[in-house]
Amino acid sequence: MSTSTMADSNVSTSYLVRFTGKQRAEHLVTMVVFTMLCLTGLPQKFYGAAWAHRMVNLFGGIDAARWIHRFCGWTLALSTVVHFASALVTIAGRKTRLTMIPTKHDFDDAVATLKYYLGLRDHGPKYDRYDYKQKFEYWGLVMGNVIMVLTGIILIYPTVLARFLPGELVPAAKVAHSNEGLMAFLVITIWHIYNAHLNPDVFPFDTCIFTGKISRERMEHEHPLELERLEAEASRAGKAVAPHAEREVVG
């Protein structure tokens, strides 16, 4: 091994903290709950299939599967509320940069990325903390959660809803819940699994959301604008971001 690669590997083993403990915990909860919701929910959508019956039996029957589904649904609802409540508190306290808000810049990035993929540009755009794909997935999940939670509650309490609103909302909620759920399942299995696992840049496994750490090398590659900003802030404060500094990045 040459000295230069030794040096390179030294650089690549220096990490930055990308996700806080709370963010990592939120991802873990969402991951577990989402998986359980899919496992107990999809068999209800595809109730005629043999695999659906086997799956339901695995959970001890449809009543047990529904109980798990509802428990996980409420957990997801609660975690969504907690997520937004704490975001509002942080925003109100001006402790964060609104890094997740989609901007015109993201739209330009998406166009530039497509041009790059198609060979109309020599390189892709430089991203800040979250690229447009991550924002898309985040907001997709958030909007999906809102739809799933609202329609899910209607499906748990159809008689309560019909006391105030037209009964037709119940079958409409069922159609929405079932299709939105399928779409979420497809987006996650196709898009998220690709981006977090199968994408050649991170293959086989992007551990960042579990450990909270990201290598400086990946930051340079995937979030150069954020890295620049962090390093500028750090040098103003008189310390280096990398290789040894591991600091919390809020937002």
Partner: protein
């Protein structure tokens, strides 16, 4: 049964029966005193037997197997019912398939528990006077009515029963839903769970339903709804009846089914809230609209449901296709860059 129709047209009763009828065919009051105090008639009307389905085929000793000579011994039966219970076993030597089915039936189960009134072969079919059970078809329900009179009366005034009694061959009689020999216990829910299939036999038949201008989509639309989906999944597991989702009979009634336009129908608009309340105690005026009344959502019927359906029919392929395309482009770029 098969060889009844296909067999040669023998004239009269086999000759050996003369031997038995020499004693049992003469005096119509011939009887035995049983320990129970009952008199067991042992006279056989040769003409009645001759006209029965067995008349030209069976000999007395085919069923009365132990009576091989003369004089013959009498079995020590305590009561008339004992005689019938004992002869239950005789039918199986020819009708083995149907006999075996009765062992899965509710009548046999009740008998096994000690209720000796439960129906045996001869209770429905008769003994020396056995005729085809289903000729005419209305005879079937009347046979059941001998014991189940209360239910029969309710049935006879339902949409099915009225037509059956009027000679309509399309409508169900008791055995069409309950089966004849392996009759399911209607109380444990197993029969209810089969109603989509049982009712569907006629109600999905285009040929039959077009006669009455009824929809054949009733089972499909039911299955697609929450109730049908739940019931389908519950069928696969051993759940108790109280947790079953609504099946056909829970809304339409069982023996008292009426046209949905009939004022006494459970599914008549004005009675619907009450019907929903059987399972949904909190149901109010708007609640029945949560059920699309067996209609497929269209722009006219259930506009909102139809729109939501359409929205997802478009957005899911668009979304998934877009993402897959982007992944493909990215991979292509990775390959090109190498």
């Amino acid at each position: 049964m098969m060889w009844v129709g296909a067999g040669p047209a023998w004239a009269g009763i086999p000759a050996e029966q003369d031997d038995c009828l020499g004693c049992h065919g003469g005096d119509a009051t011939m009887s035995m005193d049983l320990p129970s105090g009952e008199k067991l008639g042992v006279y056989v009307d040769a003409a009645v037997f001759g006209k029965s389905v067995h008349g030209e085929i069976l000999r007395c000793t085919d069923c009365h197997t132990e009576k091989t000579g003369y004089p013959h011994e009498s079995k020590p039966f305590a009561s008339k019912r004992d005689v019938q219970v004992a002869y239950y076993e005789q039918c199986k030597s020819c009708h083995f398939a149907n006999y075996t089915k009765t062992l899965d039936g509710v009548h046999y189960a009740v008998m096994a528990k000690g209720n000796r009134k439960a129906a045996l072969c001869v209770d429905c079919h008769g003994s020396h006077d056995i005729q085809r059970a289903s000729e005419p078809r209305t005879r079937i329900s009347q046979t059941c009515a001998k014991c189940h009179d209360g239910v029969f009366k309710v049935y006879a005034s339902s949409v099915h029963g009225r037509d059956a009694e009027a000679g309509n061959q399309d409508v169900p009689v008791c055995t069409d839903c309950h089966k004849a020999h392996d009759i399911l216990d209607p109380k444990n829910g197993a029969l209810s769970m089969r109603t989509p299939e049982i009712c569907g036999r006629c109600h999905t038949s285009e040929k039959m339903m077009s006669k009455y201008k009824l929809s054949t989509k009733v089972v499909d639309t039911y299955l697609k709804d929450f109730h049908g989906m739940s019931a389908t999944l519950q069928r696969g597991t051993k759940a108790d009846r109280k947790s079953f989702a609504a099946v056909c009979t829970d809304c339409h009634g069982v023996h008292d089914i009426q046209k949905s336009s009939d004022p006494t129908s459970h599914t008549m608009r004005a009675n619907l809230v009450q019907t929903c309340q059987k399972c949904h105690p909190g149901a109010t005026k708007n609640f029945p609209d949560a059920w699309l009344s067996h209609y497929e959502p269209t722009p006219q019927k259930a506009t909102l449901v139809w729109s939501v359906q359409l929205f997802y029919k478009l957005i899911i392929p668009f979304m998934v296709g877009g993402l897959v395309l982007q992944i493909a482009l990215h991979l292509w770029r990775v390959v090109v860059n190498r």
